[in-house]
C-alpha cells in the first residue's frame, strides 16, 4: 500500500462534501452519520426510512467503488477483535455524548464555522493522536 495518497484523498473528500451538500440542498438535513445511525434505534418516525436508505447508500457506494477498483482497497489483517470492539463501543458512546462524529462535526460543522463543531473536531483528533501514541508506541498493543 502506498503511503501518502493526496489525489484520492482530495477527490474522495470532495465527493464526501458533495454528498453532504446534496442531503442539505434536497432534504435540509445535516449528513451526520452517528446521529443517522443511532436514529435507527429510536422509535420509528418520519425519519426512519430516509436514515435507513442513507446508510444503505453508504454500504452500496463503498462496495461499488471497490467492485470497480479492487486494487483500491486493502483490508487490515490480524487486528485484535477485542481492541476493535472496545474502540467501537467508545466511538458509539462518545459520539452520542458529544453530539456528532467526523461527518457531523468534522465536515458539516467545520464548514458551517460552528465553534462547537470546530472545538469537538480539535478534541477528537488530539484524543485520537494521544491514543495511537499510547497504544502503539508506549503499550505496543496496536500493530
Amino acid at each position: 500500500m502506498e503511503h501518502f495518497t493526496p489525489v484520492s484523498a482530495l477527490v474522495g473528500g470532495a465527493l464526501i462534501g458533495l454528498a453532504a451538500a446534496v442531503l442539505l440542498w434536497l432534504n435540509g438535513r445535516i449528513a451526520g452519520i452517528s446521529s443517522i445511525f443511532s436514529g435507527m434505534f429510536a422509535a420509528p418516525s418520519a425519519d426512519t426510512v430516509w436514515r435507513a436508505l442513507f446508510l444503505l447508500g453508504l454500504i452500496v457506494g463503498a462496495s461499488l467503488y471497490v467492485a470497480l477498483n479492487p486494487a483500491g482497497y486493502t483490508p487490515r489483517a490480524g487486528f485484535s477483535p477485542g481492541l476493535l470492539a472496545l474502540g467501537g463501543f467508545l466511538v458509539g458512546f462518545g459520539t452520542r455524548m458529544g453530539g456528532g462524529c467526523t461527518s457531523g462535526h468534522g465536515v458539516c460543522g467545520v464548514a458551517r464555522l460552528s465553534v462547537r463543531s470546530i472545538t469537538a473536531t480539535v478534541v477528537f483528533v488530539l484524543a485520537g493522536m494521544v491514543t495511537v501514541y499510547v497504544a502503539r508506541h508506549l503499550l505496543g498493543v496496536q500493530p
Binding site: I16, G57, G61, Y65, Y73, M97, R116, V125, G128
Partner: protein, 149 residues
C-alpha cells in the same frame, strides 16, 4: 418518497467518496493519527476536500428559503461548549484511535467483506445504546435538530 431517494443518493455518493479516499481502511486513519510514527497526512486532505466543497455549498444552499424537497432546513441549534461536548469528543477520539474507524467508514465497510466491519458496527450500536440508557431515558429522541450528527 423523493426525499427517501435523495437520502439514498447522498448515501451512495458519501460511501463512494469514503472508499475513493481510502478512509474505509483503518490503517490509513491510524497512519494519520500516528504523528510519532510514519505520519500519513491523507486524512487531512480528505477533510480539506470535504470541508472545501461543503463550505461553499452550505452558503449557497442556506440562502434559499427552504430545501428542494422538505419544508425547512433542520440545522443544529446548540451553541454552548459544554462538558458533554468536550468529554464526548474525547471519548470518541480514544475509540477512533483504538479501532481506526469512525461511524461512516465502519458502516460503509459492511459490504467490503472484512470481518472487522460487523464487529465494529455492533460495538458502535452497543455504545450508542449504552449512552441512551444512561442519559436519554428522561428525554425522548429529539431528532437531528439538537445535535450536529
Amino acid at each position: 418518497m423523493s426525499r427517501n431517494i435523495a437520502a439514498l443518493v447522498a448515501g451512495l455518493i458519501f460511501g463512494f467518496g469514503l472508499a475513493v479516499s481510502r478512509m474505509v481502511e483503518p490503517a490509513k486513519v491510524i497512519g494519520f493519527l500516528d504523528v510519532a510514527g510514519r505520519w500519513d497526512p491523507s486524512l487531512l486532505l480528505v477533510m480539506a476536500g470535504a470541508v472545501g466543497v461543503m463550505f461553499v455549498a452550505y452558503r449557497l444552499i442556506v440562502r434559499r428559503p427552504k430545501p428542494l424537497l422538505a419544508a425547512q432546513f433542520t440545522l443544529p441549534s446548540k451553541l454552548e461548549i459544554d462538558r458533554p461536548l468536550l468529554l464526548g469528543a474525547a471519548i470518541f477520539g480514544v475509540g477512533w484511535g483504538l479501532a481506526g474507524y469512525c461511524p461512516g467508514p465502519g458502516i460503509a465497510a459492511l459490504g467490503l467483506g472484512t470481518w472487522e466491519a460487523p464487529v465494529f458496527v455492533a460495538a458502535l450500536a452497543a455504545g450508542a445504546l449504552a449512552h441512551r440508557w444512561l442519559f436519554e431515558r428522561a428525554a425522548p429522541d429529539t431528532g437531528a435538530a439538537a445535535s450536529e450528527g
